[in-house]
């Protein structure tokens, strides 16, 4: 098996992956300490509702008490971005976790046992993959009503097929390996073989894809929010915040960047979050891929 210390060393050596790890750690800290960094106003029940300073439509620039300014509707951008970190992790980790589990379950069944089971499962994944992801997600959210929960369900429905296929493919490969044959020869049950030998080796491509997909999930959730099918308005979610900025990207012609804070800041949060995970995922790919030349 692979040496985790070796992996860690590789990650730190590469400046890009190091940057990725730093970014992710930063976001983790923000998420954990959100209540301290951006305390919820007294008397407000749900901390995920962004506090407002009035109801006016035009965004107001950064000022005392509102370090990042306020968006359309006077929602506090700072609060929204900080607590949005929690929402982002929530969505991303829940969706990826569920999707990986489904993928492992179905992919193992398909890959290890083959035959009819494999055919059926593969056809089902075909059905899901045949339909453009965004449209499918939209239809599901529209049907269930916009909320964070529907978004997560929709994204799970869209993402699981790739994992099922990936794991199935890896299992097909590994199944033929000698040590698996040996284990079976010794009389180990199928389940034992899968869990102890096949899965641990199939895990690496999954890890690569998962770390890259975390960014993709957050971007998709933001896209759904932009199209009006995401978290409810006023919920602390980066997609929501960028949605608020939609009509303010172009200020008056003489001062086009007047509302830059409403547009740029939430976008930056998304950008760096996704960037961090992508750098990490890319680095994983370099490390785990045995076919790449190592100098």
């Amino acid at each position: 098996m692979t040496d985790w210390k070796f992996i860690a060393r590789q990650l730190v050596k590469n400046p890009l992956s190091l940057a990725g790890i730093v970014l992710i750690t930063l976001f983790v800290i923000i998420a954990i300490f959100a209540p301290l960094i951006a305390p919820t106003p007294e008397g407000q029940g749900n901390p995920y509702l962004i506090p407002r300073e009035g109801y006016g439509a035009t965004p107001q620039p950064p000022r005392e008490d509102y370090p990042f300014g306020t968006t359309q509707g006077q929602y506090d951008i700072f609060y929204g971005c900080i607590w949005g970190t929690r929402s982002a992790f929530q969505i991303a980790l829940v969706v990826i976790a569920i999707v990986v589990l489904i993928g492992i379950a179905l992919g193992s069944l398909a890959g290890y046992f083959g035959g009819i089971l494999d055919e059926v499962i593969m056809r089902i994944t075909d059905v899901f993959l045949a339909f453009p992801a965004l449209i499918l997600a939209m239809a599901i959210v529209a049907a269930l009503g916009p909320s964070l929960r529907s978004v997560m369900i929709a994204l799970c429905a869209v993402w699981w097929p790739s994992y099922a296929r990936l794991i199935r493919g890896d299992i097909l490969q590994i199944r033929e390996e000698d040590y698996v044959e040996a284990s079976r020869g010794l009389g180990a049950s199928s389940r034992r073989v899968i869990i102890r030998h096949v899965l641990p080796n199939a895990i690496y491509p999954t890890l690569i894809m998962a770390s890259l997909d975390i960014g993709a999930v957050v971007l998709s959730a933001a896209a759904l929010s932009f199209l009006g099918l995401g978290a409810p308005e006023g919920y602390a979610d980066w997609g929501q915040m960028t949605q608020f900025a939609r009509n303010w990207i172009v200020g008056p012609i003489g001062d086009p960047f007047r509302y830059w804070y409403a547009v740029i800041i939430p976008g930056m949060f998304i950008l760096f979050f996704v960037l961090g995970w992508n750098l990490l995922g890319d680095a994983f790919r370099d490390i785990f891929d045995p076919k790449l030349a190592r100098r």
């Binding site: 049907a143 099918l229 790449l292």
Partner: protein, 348 residues
Amino acid sequence: MELRSYIIRRLLLLIPVLFGVTIFIFGITMLFSPIERATLYVSDPRQMMDLQSVIEEYGLNDPFWVQYGTWVGQVFRGNLGWSKVVSMPVGEAIFHYLPATLELAIFATPLIILTGIFLGTKAAAHKDKPVDHATRVLAILGWSLPSFWLGLILIMVFYGYIRGFLPPGRLSIAMDGVVNSAEFIRYTRINTLDAILNLNGRVLLDALRHVVLPVITISVINVAFIMRLMRSSMLESLGKGYILTARAKGLQEKVVVNKHARRNALIPVITVSGYLFAALAGGAVITESIFSFKGIGWWAWQAASRLDISSVLGFALFTGVLFVIVNLVVDILYTRVDPRVRLGGGVQ
């Protein structure tokens, strides 16, 4: 395996896929009560007072299989239903909106592929050096940008700041008049193509002006995938035995990279191009909305968010067919290009 029977076998796959997708979509709509579904057929507040007649008219109280069966029967008779969101038959809607999307896909795909190949090769050839890092970060940046952000900023700069230079929409008012006039024949409804076929330079120029920004937006977002793929594929290819031989023979590094490594590295990229084109042909929802370049992505979004069932089902059929055919073409191409792969082969 013989090519013809392979193709036939794969096309037969269409059937379970299409049934699967449409049953799934239909299933989603069954989450609603008949009254809720009836409202999807009416658009004005005052019409709502008479929902019962709508329910009967459309048989919304019938069990799932009856409704699905009716729909399937209609499809076989060539009737895909009425697209409520654009007030025309679903089949007509697909033909009406597909050209805009194809126009973007036709320009974007080569741009993405070529840029991706170029950047990927550079990155691989200088692995772990600043160039590698820079191109990777740039590509990832492009992919992480919300597309509407990029789109709106481009519009602001190139239509607002440089007044009227690159507008949203497909054509300017004047050229739209020309295109719809009797003298101009819309063969494909892809404006750039039609302009060439009609030998009309002014329309061509106008159409190109409108195509530039949406194509750039789509390309910036998607270039990362190709670049990454090209990079890893190049790295794999560079590690092969014959490369060592070439270097040992004293060939220039540039030649080694460009002539030998790249050719083999291109194989997976070419196959991915097929999927890329298919994905783009399925429509880029946000880009099409922002730029008023109303194609099939825009139509599908309207249909999905307003729960226009007939349209969504029609769109599902379209993408299902597209998916199967593209997969088939790519697999065949793959065998032509990489002699190690055989048609219909199992685990090697």
